[in-house]
Amino acid sequence: MARITASVYTSHVPAIGAALDLGKTGEDYWQPVFAGYDFGKEWIAEQKPDVVFLVYNDHATAFSLDLIPTFALGTGSEFKPADEGWGPRPVPTVYGHPELAAHIAQSVIQDDFDLTLVNKMDVDHGLTVPLSLMFGQPEAWPCQVIPFAVNVVQYPVPAGRRCFQIGQAIRRAVESFDEDLNVQIWGTGGMSHQLQGARAGLINKDWDNRFLDRLIDDPAGLSQLPHIDYVREAGSEGIELVMWLIARGAMADIAGGPKPVLRKRFYHVPASNTAVGHLILENP
């Protein structure tokens, strides 16, 4: 039977990808950012997940204004790194897990979540930067990846509550898949940042850290937070943090199981415009 063994949370700042791709990871500016992921890299080399269910948002890359899915599940077999305007990142193609993805689609849609299924799309930094942070720069990604894109670009975006619920539905779906698979679920984006207007550069360390506290210990309560609080306190692009609730909702304790073990907590300011947050929670 497939099991969700752990969840990983991380910001997905594009500049982190650029720093990696341009060989700047040793620079004073970047060294503390990447150091925050040293543990994660060792940990995941031991964990050897078969599949990562990767929750991220598309940044006007695969989805233009022609069509805006609230929740898009990648059921295809491969997804190429996108050209976001700087040329595609020099990272490996992402290979999906169509069978598990189709199984999740069937289960989650019958559970009253109105997914959009996507067989063909390019994936942007929202998906590839987390892979780079956790896996470094391999020739090929060491596991299959199911992309799950959440609309946080055009309002209305899904409520935190809804994200937390779909996480729970994803857990039920994964755990009813017959094949023996070690599945991780990652929540990406955030933490506080604003990329626009006179308020660009907003960072809210206290709020971010309370968010991390509550994500660990009080995710159900945290899921009730209205959008406006994210925007006001963590910047207009801080809204990406609702996606972390999807990964958190998929952990065992939410379904009545044991509390997850905190394996890593990391917070750093800044990476470009953004506060970097990172957690690893393991199901015992």
């Binding site: 550069g201 907003l202 207009s236």
Partner: protein, 147 residues
């Protein structure tokens, strides 16, 4: 419309909702076209001609030509779309975000290194934080204006 828009009282912040999206439709779709190297080259070779192939408003075209991202946003642009223009110019997200504050690149970078902009005074219009309308533009640009 009877639905709430509680996000309109935040200084220096435009929430990209359906109304903005409609207003900025062609501006944003133009930006998407810059996701291929070929189109970026065509755009750079003759920006005006490239823009004229899109049913954008003249104001939107002017805002793009001026690389004034705040202006682009007022006409319905969204930062993730507009970022394709910056990418075409070889700019980073930090350069793009900073440009909207009026600060120089160095000033903005220094602010970020010092921990970023505080939320204090910047949560609601009418407070006195550095993102409030009365304090624009920020950095030396603002000081010069006052001198």
């Amino acid at each position: 419309m009877a639905l709430d828009k509680p996000y309109q009282d935040i200084p220096g912040t435009i929430i990209f909702d359906a109304e903005q999206s409609r207003k900025g439709y062609w501006l944003n779709q133009f930006c998407m076209s810059l996701m291929s190297a070929e189109n970026r080259a065509r755009f750079k070779a003759d920006e005006r001609a490239y823009l004229d192939a899109w049913p954008m408003s003249e104001e939107q075209k002017q805002a793009v030509l001026a690389r004034d991202l705040n202006w682009c946003m007022r006409t319905g642009g969204n930062i993730y779309f507009l970022a394709k223009i910056g990418a075409t110019d070889g700019k980073s997200f930090q350069q793009m975000a900073g440009s909207m504050t009026g600060m120089s690149e160095d000033e903005y970078r220094a602010m970020m290194l010092a921990g970023g902009r505080s939320a204090d005074g910047n949560r609601r219009l009418g407070e006195d934080g550095d993102a409030q309308p009365q304090h624009q533009p920020q950095g030396a640009a603002g000081k010069k204006g006052n001198a």
